[in-house]
């Protein structure tokens, strides 16, 4: 049952709101989203954004250097890692695959990862949020995750060729 209050009462209430953002709730990945360990085990549930992030850091590249290396705009490189709603173009996937010597089969799998990223854009964004500017060494957990993804891509490519 809505409370009955005067307009003045409500104005006093709304003017209490500070200038900063107002929000509440868990900022973690939601239930059902991949966790780092699950992704490492399955090699799936890892988004294209995460994959690129890990790949870049494994190579010791800054975002600028990565963009230059794969011949894409800096803004696009930033968007891939930081914007969960960014739709990666096939051309970009191809550039990345070419730069890092992925086979055509792997390229196809990368494109598959891209589709998953588009379909489930919010997955684990914060897992690497605020760290995407880093170029430091990967932790063991991050390296395991990257290797698991690469293995999964290779396995699928091998199965496709069998």
């Amino acid at each position: 049952m809505p409370i009955e209050r005067s307009k003045e009462w409500w104005l006093a209430r709304i003017d209490e709101e500070p200038d900063g953002p107002i929000g509440a709730g868990s900022i973690a990945a939601e239930p059902g989203e991949a966790t780092s360990s699950a992704a490492a085990e399955e090699g799936s549930g890892t988004t294209f954004a995460e994959f690129v992030h890990l790949l870049r850091r494994r190579e010791g590249l800054s975002i600028d250097e990565f963009a230059e290396a794969v011949n894409i705009d800096l803004t696009e490189a930033q968007a891939i890692e930081e914007d969960p709603y960014y739709c990666v173009e096939g051309r970009t996937v191809w550039y990345i695959a070419r730069k890092f010597n992925f086979s055509q089969a792997k390229l196809n799998d990368l494109a598959g990862v891209t589709v998953a990223n588009d379909l489930d854009p919010h997955v684990a964004q914060q897992r690497f949020a605020a760290r995407s500017e880093l170029r430091g060494r990967l932790s063991e957990e991050e390296l395991d995750l990257l290797n698991a993804v690469v293995r999964a891509i290779q396995d699928r490519a091998d199965r496709a060729q069998a």
């Binding site: 049952m1 809505p2 409370i3 209050r5 005067s6 307009k7 003045e8 009462w9 409500w10 104005l11 006093a12 209430r13 709304i14 003017d15 209490e16 709101e17 500070p18 200038d19 900063g20 953002p21 107002i22 929000g23 509440a24 709730g25 868990s26 900022i27 973690a28 990945a29 939601e30 803004t75 930033q78 930081e82 914007d83 969960p84 709603y85 854009p121 919010h122 964004q125 914060q126 949020a129 605020a130 500017e133």
Partner: protein
């Protein structure tokens, strides 16, 4: 589906005018569409601007990954959830989902039910980042008051709990909520609780 509404107000900070608004007792497809078609691009523009200005990531919007379509779909299958929207000027200005199954932590009400604010988010243009001015002020208090009202309606005596985003802590403290400190189970966000006395004070007539 049509939801009940109650008249509320927002303050347009550009003009200083009072703008009529509605508290909507639900989140429907139009609200989800607003989130998708208007909130997300606005959020992207804010993030791009913050990046350009070199604003540290901890000061960026922290709710960009929230998927309200999924939250609404999930809530429709579970009895213990309730949802609210604030609309004004033909647009969804804020969204909230609450959970009625969580217990209170306050010592004298420990274990008793409360309205737990699962998620509360205001539209990106109603948030202020790195010196930008928000468009409308007031959606936060409208939704917090709605949570208190619901708590009273449910017989929970106005008890409300929530985990505050770091940038919002001062707001909840000013509303009289008790700070239980960082919660290691929820990304170390500070947990706040509104007591029944606090609720009475919040809803007190002028």
């Amino acid at each position: 589906m049509t939801f009940e509404t109650a008249p509320r107000f927002l303050r347009d900070l550009e003009t200083g005018d009072v703008v009529p608004a509605d508290l909507v007792y639900g989140i429907g497809l139009p609200h989800v569409m607003d989130w998708h078609t208007a909130w997300q691009p606005a959020l992207g523009a804010i993030k791009a601007a913050l990046h350009e200005q070199g604003v540290p990531k901890p000061e960026w919007p922290q709710t960009g990954h929230w998927n309200w379509a999924a939250k609404v779909a999930e809530a429709q299958d579970i009895i213990g959830f309730r949802m609210f929207s604030v609309t004004a000027a033909g647009m969804t200005q804020a969204l909230m989902r609450v959970d009625l199954t969580k217990p209170a932590r306050m010592e004298d009400a420990s274990g008793r039910p409360l309205v737990y604010v699962d998620y509360l988010e205001v539209a990106p243009w109603n948030q202020s980042f790195a010196g930008t001015r928000k468009k409308y002020r007031g959606a936060g208090p409208i939704l917090l008051t709605a949570a208190v009202e619901l708590s009273i309606d449910e017989g929970f005596k106005g008890r409300v709990g929530l985990h505050s985003l770091p940038q919002s802590e001062s707001f909840y403290e000013k509303q009289g909520m008790i700070d239980f400190g960082p919660d290691a189970k929820v990304q170390n966000l500070r947990y706040y609780e509104m007591t029944s006395d606090g609720a009475q004070a919040l809803l007190a007539q002028e």
